[in-house]
């Protein structure tokens, strides 16, 4: 009986926290800064720290993942004498799955954790409450630009990831393993469709960006304002964010590509 009560209580707590997160998100989006000039400046600063600073890790890992895919794909496809299809394999894998998913996972680790830690530290040092004292809404001034910057950056990073991956794979398979480059491109262009592959991958990245950034800013805003609490909240951001990405990816893949 006690177990049931505990379980029910945990469920209620969880539903409550989801509701709080939803209200929090709605409030921070619908109360954007009033003055346009100021809001753009805040947004640009966040775009820099969330997007530009994540660029290096995304480009480097994209290139390496493309290169590894090309190597592995080549070694298997060469057994069937169809090593030209490595371009097709590379492009489909990167555009449909690896691009959005790996970028989002890297983004959760690189940008999401820093967002949580930054907001958590602001809370611990009572900067958020002093904003309120000054009559500035912290949701509007601190949370909204960070959330929007995250939602803008992740899809762009995912596109950059796929592109560097394909270029990395091209270098390995064409320049190193000697795949014919005309066949590489033509097979790729034959099998990749703009609307089903590129656009669907982009939609995936947008969904992941909303989920990850939402989790990151919410965890930072709701954390226990101690050094231990900030540490826990940062861990939770990465763990919950990664799980949310993988679960969402399954649902989205089933909806987009499930019919063939």
């Amino acid at each position: 009986m006690k177990m049931v009560a505990l379980l029910g209580g945990a469920l209620l707590d969880w539903i409550e926290s989801v509701g709080r997160a939803g209200i929090f998100l709605a409030q921070s989006i619908f109360r954007l800064p009033v003055r346009f000039k100021e809001s753009i400046n805040l947004l640009i600063k966040q775009l820099y720290s969330v997007g530009v600073l994540s660029l290096v890790i995304v480009v480097v890992s994209g290139a390496f993942i493309g290169m590894v895919l090309a190597l592995q794909g080549y070694s298997i496809l060469a057994k069937f004498g169809s090593e030209e299809a490595v371009g097709q394999l590379l492009a489909l894998a990167l555009l449909r799955e690896l691009g959005p998913v790996v970028t989002a996972l890297l983004f959760a680790g690189r940008a999401g954790s820093s967002l949580t830690a930054e907001i958590g530290l602001m809370k611990a040092t009572e900067q958020l409450s002093s904003f309120e004292m000054m009559g500035v809404d912290p949701l509007r001034r601190v949370i909204a630009p960070r959330f929007i910057a995250g939602v803008i950056c992740l899809p762009l990073l995912s596109l950059i990831f796929s592109t560097t991956g394909i270029i990395g794979g091209l270098v390995v398979s064409v320049n190193w393993l000697g795949v014919h480059d005309g066949a590489f491109w033509s097979l790729m262009q034959q099998s990749v469709y703009f609307d089903t592959d590129i656009v669907n991958g982009f939609i995936k990245a947008v969904c992941f960006s909303i989920a990850v950034t939402w989790i990151a800013v919410y965890q930072g805003y709701e954390c226990v304002p101690t050094s231990e609490g900030i540490g826990k909240a940062t861990t939770r951001t990465v763990v919950l964010g990664s799980l949310a990405i993988l679960a969402l990816d399954f649902v989205l893949t089933a909806a987009m590509f499930g019919d063939f």
Binding site: N41, I44, K45, L47, Y48, G51, V52, L55, A91, L95, I152, C153, P155, L156, L157, L159, I160, S162, T163, I166, W185, M188, Q189, Q190, V192, Y193, F194, D197, I198, F202
Partner: protein
């Protein structure tokens, strides 16, 4: 001064993202920005479409001249009804041409191959090709071969 540099970095980041998008669209998916070509539709009925899918190409002498628009079941004849879009510059397909479902390579995709007939009348929009040759289904082929082998032993 510092905020100018930040703006520069953010601007180039966003440009890089857009460039990546254009690169993927043009180079990887081979998206052409020209208008959709004018096409006309013809249909053909097959006994067995055997794995032909939408968007499969339609060829003459190996050159792509169109694509499969839809595949449905003709409920009265119990045959597969394939509708194709053919480029309108290819407007000289004789009405007695024949069409076959072919496979590119051993494991490749299915496509349609047109063999040109000799009639003076040409196919127009909504026309039908009557001389069709179904896909080769491996099981049927093997069972025919086995029956033949059994016959010759007697």
């Amino acid at each position: 001064m510092r905020s100018k540099r930040t703006e520069l970095f953010v601007g180039s980041f966003i440009l890089l993202g857009i460039l990546a998008f254009v690169y993927l669209a043009v180079q990887v998916s081979g998206l052409a920005f020209t208008d959709k070509k004018d096409t006309y539709q013809i249909v053909a009925r097959f006994d067995d479409i055997g794995g032909l899918s939408n968007r499969a190409k339609v060829t003459i002498a190996g050159v792509t001249i169109g694509s499969v628009e839809s595949i449905t079941l003709d409920k009265e004849l119990y045959m597969g009804l394939v509708t194709m879009n053919i480029d309108s510059d290819v407007n000289n397909i004789p009405t007695d041409s024949s069409i076959a479902i072919l496979t590119s390579g051993l494991l490749g995709e299915k496509y349609l191959g047109l063999s040109i007939g000799a009639d003076d009348e040409m196919l127009t929009d909504g026309g039908e090709i009557f001389d069709t040759q179904s896909a080769l289904v491996l099981e049927t082929l093997i069972s025919q071969f086995l029956f033949k082998a059994g016959d010759s032993e007697k």
